[in-house]
């Protein structure tokens, strides 16, 4: 990857300038052309509580339109999709669009992050307005040139036409003049009728693919800076451990090693922690030197923690009343006592790693109180802030280049690797690329938290669900729930069962946790949609029909507890019914004659503003080995599927990701450390395990929402429910253990 040094001339120097308040900034480009820069006012934002969304467009005299891709690309396709929104309303041909990756520049672009499947809902409206404003200015420039009313002009494919006189001018020819005109009000610019869309809804290929298939350097690990050295960082295997001593001198004496030193960090794993840095002329040399490294650690109190201990602690807590009530509707205790049939079940799921295929890495150089970083990050702004506080410099003196990320899945929302690279580079006094090996990556993650659920469900004589309770045993320290370890009081079926109790207790935890693709939902879907399935079978009802009955025939909108005023966060039973009916139809639910050992399972889940219902067909061999035969997905992500080609890819990947988690993934804690180290112990899904995934979208009259995450959660219970239907064995603990589902 070619890199440029920008320490002396970078927009970071302008951060906090009055441009943050600018409404729409227009300027002429040197050499002609139009530069369109917008910082949208609060009023133009979507109904979602998040940052504004400025954008940046350049129109050159030759008509080539360059659009900055403002957000990090982690494989979700955003580098292609966000510019599509601008290009659509600007009314240019996609072939004339060039896309450039933006750097971190909050003043220009607002929040730049990849998380929560939020890019679509946050940018759908604002970025189209940017394009529409540009179009309006080009029309105004043409009208002025021809002395005709703007209303007589129309645009198409990057050209303004005056039909009455038969005249036309290209955007390239108009750009310089347009740059001198006043900027329109973004709130009132006219947007296209969706029926006239030419780019939105078109299947467009990802813009970086030609570089990917030919092996061009794109990723953080590919960055090369002149004079760069390579570093590894050995950290305490026990979370929270402190370094006592290390054989630094022996390491320094190894051939090819340029430096080795102790890093003294703090107690927060999100920042710099204790370790030994080894810097060498090649990364392989630095990593190999670790074989000679001898470190004495003070492992601290974390060493007492283990997965077995957590399970025992949860089992004990599960027998008691929850420490805290999350929700109490009606009188669940009495209703359960009076129910015709009560089902009780205990569920659990393990810690999970992210295992991005590109291990965590970052390249940094620090001099004269300024830091420049090349980071595969999902969240560059907090990364810059962490680097600034770690080095004791101003945030405005931190420059972040966002590289393409070799997977994210939430791992790169944390910025620990950026702080480490910056610290090592500062200490060495040369540019340094810090690269973790796979063992570092598996053992120093921010894991999807494990969890334990103790359910009771009560059915009346007709098989209707009348009482429901969950005691969720999760993790936390003091009153504070661990990151991504919580549950909303609105969790389904809350609001749909008359008597319902949700309560929570916590176990103390030294293991760092964090968001993993569809955080919380990726675990809660498994337990709730599996237990609902148990209740359906106990009621003697078809699991899909039982779910439809729970949703009810009339549409209800149940407010989300985390964000009750946001209509998009509310659970719309009609939208869920829609995708459930669609997936039933597409999978021929209940209509297939399947051999013994083969069955379908169904589940649905609402997360990240998306409604997804999925059917898995699986075959369980007598030995208990599981083969997933096919997955049907029905999703409702609003009124537009912006790029169908990528949307399908995301949904297929999310569903298969969930299958991989269920079949082969768990992080085990022993002695306060992670047991697993590589892909022989923590198993990513492989091609021979990956079934076809048939994807169907139901478009509904709601704002478009994101697709990076919401297809993942329901696939896990759909698989487990299929296994039950095939074998009569209920999966109440992940990952699936073939020994538990043998049948004869």
């Amino acid at each position: 990857m070619q890199t440029r040094h920008l320490l002396s001339d970078h927009p970071a120097a302008r951060r906090g300038s009055p441009s943050r308040r600018a409404f729409l900034k227009v300027s002429a480009l040197a050499g002609g052309g139009l530069l369109l820069q917008a910082a949208l006012p609060a009023a133009a934002r979507a109904a979602l509580a998040a940052a504004s969304t400025p954008a940046f467009v350049r129109i050159a005299p030759d008509g080539i339109v360059t659009i900055m891709a403002k957000n990090p690309e982690i494989g979700q396709g955003i580098k292609t999709m966000l510019p599509m929104l601008i290009a659509e309303e600007l009314d240019v041909d996609w072939d004339s669009v060039r896309i450039e990756q933006a750097m971190l520049d909050a003043a220009k672009y607002g929040r730049q992050f990849a998380g929560g499947s939020m890019a679509t809902p946050l940018n759908w409206d604002p970025l189209r307005r940017v394009g529409a404003a540009g179009r309006q200015m080009l029309v105004a420039a043409a009208a002025e040139t021809w002395s005709v009313p703007e209303s007589e002009c129309r645009t198409s494919s990057g050209t303004v036409y005056h039909t009455l006189s038969g005249r036309s001018l290209t955007y390239g020819a108009l750009a310089t003049k347009a740059a001198t005109l006043p900027a329109p009000d973004l709130n009132t610019v006219k947007l296209k009728d969706p029926r006239d869309f030419k780019i939105v809804r078109r299947s467009l290929r990802s813009v970086d693919n030609p570089s990917i298939v030919t092996g061009k350097p794109l990723f953080g690990i590919d960055v090369a800076v002149p004079g760069m050295l390579y570093a590894v960082l050995e950290k305490c295997p026990v979370f929270g451990g402190k370094l006592v001593r290390a054989n630094i001198d022996a390491i320094k004496a190894l051939p090819g090693v340029r430096d080795a030193f102790v890093v003294k960090g703090g107690a927060d794993p999100k920042g710099l922690v204790d370790g030994v840095a080894i810097v060498a002329e090649t990364w392989w040399t630095a990593n190999k030197a670790r074989e000679s490294l001898e470190v004495a650690w003070d492992e601290g109190p974390g060493a007492a923690q283990s997965s077995g201990g957590f399970a025992a602690g949860a089992a004990a807590l599960g027998k008691q009343a929850p420490a805290k009530s999350l929700r109490a509707d009606g009188d669940a205790k009495s209703a359960l006592a009076g129910a015709a049939h009560v089902v009780e079940a205990a569920y659990s799921y393990p810690f999970l790693p992210h295992m991005t295929l590109e291990p965590q890495n970052c390249t940094a150089q620090v001099h004269d109180g300024k830091a420049e970083l090349w980071a595969p990050t999902q969240n560059p702004a907090p990364g810059a802030k962490l680097v600034a506080s770690t080095l004791g410099i101003a945030e405005s003196d931190v420059i972040v280049h966002m590289t393409r990320c070799g997977g994210g899945f939430g791992r790169r929302l944390l910025s620990d690797f950026m702080a480490e690279a910056a610290w090592i580079a500062k200490t060495v006094g040369a540019p340094v690329k810090l690269l973790w090996n796979r063992q570092d990556d598996v053992r120093h993650d921010f894991y999807r938290p494990a969890g334990f659920h103790f359910f009771k469900g009560g059915l009346d004589a007709a098989g209707k669900l009348v009482a429901f309770s969950d005691h969720f045993v999760t993790f936390g320290n003091g009153d504070r729930i661990a990151d991504s370890a919580g549950m909303d009081s609105s969790e389904f079926p809350a609001g749909l069962v008359e008597h319902l109790d949700y309560g929570l207790s916590m176990l103390p935890l030294s293991v760092p946790t964090g968001p993993l693709r569809a955080p919380r939902s990726n675990a809660l879907a498994f337990v709730f949609q599996s237990f609902i399935d148990e209740l359906a079978h106990a009621a003697g009802q078809d699991p899909l029909a039982f779910r439809l009955a729970l949703l009810g025939p009339e549409t209800r909108v149940l407010p989300g507890s985390a964000d009750p005023k946001n209509p998009l966060r509310a659970f719309d039973t009609g939208r869920m019914r829609g995708v459930l009916e669609l997936v039933a139809e597409k999978s021929s639910w209940g209509k297939r004659a399947l051999p013994k050992g083969t069955a379908q399972g169904v589940a649905f889940y609402f997360s990240h503003l998306g409604y997804f219902a999925e059917v898995v067909q699986a075959t369980v061999a007598r030995s208990g080995s599981v083969k997933v035969d096919k997955i049907w997905v029905a999703g409702d992500a609003g009124s537009q599927i912006i790029n169908p080609l990528n949307a399908e890819n995301q949904v297929q990947g999310a569903a298969l990701d969930g299958i991989g988690e269920a079949l082969g993934q768990a992080i085990t804690i022993e002695g306060g450390r992670v047991v697993e180290a590589n892909f022989d112990a923590i198993l990513p899904l492989r091609i021979d395990q990956a079934p076809p995934v048939e994807v169907h979208f139901l478009t509904t009259d709601h704002p478009p929402t994101g697709l990076g995450e919401p297809a993942l959660p329901p696939v896990v219970p759909a698989l487990c429910n299929a296994i039950f239907a095939a074998t009569g064995k209920r999966i109440r603990k992940l990952p699936i253990d073939p020994a538990e589902i043998k049948w004869t």
């Binding site: 990857m1 494989g75 990364w283 295929l357 990947g653 991989g660 995934v693």
Partner: protein, 159 residues
């Protein structure tokens, strides 16, 4: 110690330890960044290159063992007719998500098709199971391999 290896048709001389894996010679010495580091133990396939047309894991191949065999990397595979077809199929099908594993996938797929012009699904499983795609683009990888082989892909996924 110096080693002369042929990479993408060009002889290159490097002065490195003999046990340095070919992957790191390619990436950090010869500045060919297309082959990727994923696991360091031959478990993920991101580092796959060809030695005389055979797909190998370059992270498990000491440079001293390469000898006179011809090394082909993702940067050079487009010069072979099969490699070119595979790259074109990858683009047509729009396989990548993050893209990090795809160099290795393309190298394994090209080695497969060079030997087996019309692979069955079982052939594809056998040849590709060592290549992890963490984004799980497996459906499209399978389709792209069949497209590159000129096979019908219309019935994929029927059940």
């Amino acid at each position: 110690m110096t080693y002369t290896i042929e990479v993408n048709g060009v002889k290159r001389t490097v002065d490195v330890d003999g046990d340095m894996p070919l992957l790191w010679v390619l990436r950090d010495v010869l500045d060919l960044k297309g082959s990727k580091f994923g696991c360091g133990t031959g478990l993920c396939g991101a580092c796959t290159v060809h030695l005389d047309g055979e797909a190998v894991r370059s992270c498990q191949t000491p440079v001293s063992s390469v000898g006179p065999t011809a090394v082909t990397t993702i940067e050079g595979i487009g010069a072979t007719p099969v490699g070119k077809r595979v790259q074109a199929a990858w683009l047509e099908v729009d396989v990548p998500q993050c893209g990090y594993c795809q160099a290795g996938q393309i190298m394994s797929a090209t080695a497969l098709l060079a030997k087996t012009a019309r692979p069955t699904d079982q052939d594809i499983d056998a040849a590709m199971t060592g290549n992890v795609c963490r984004c799980a683009t497996y459906t499209r990888i399978r389709t792209a391999i069949k497209k590159a082989a000129g096979m019908n892909t219309a019935d994929a996924g029927a059940l």
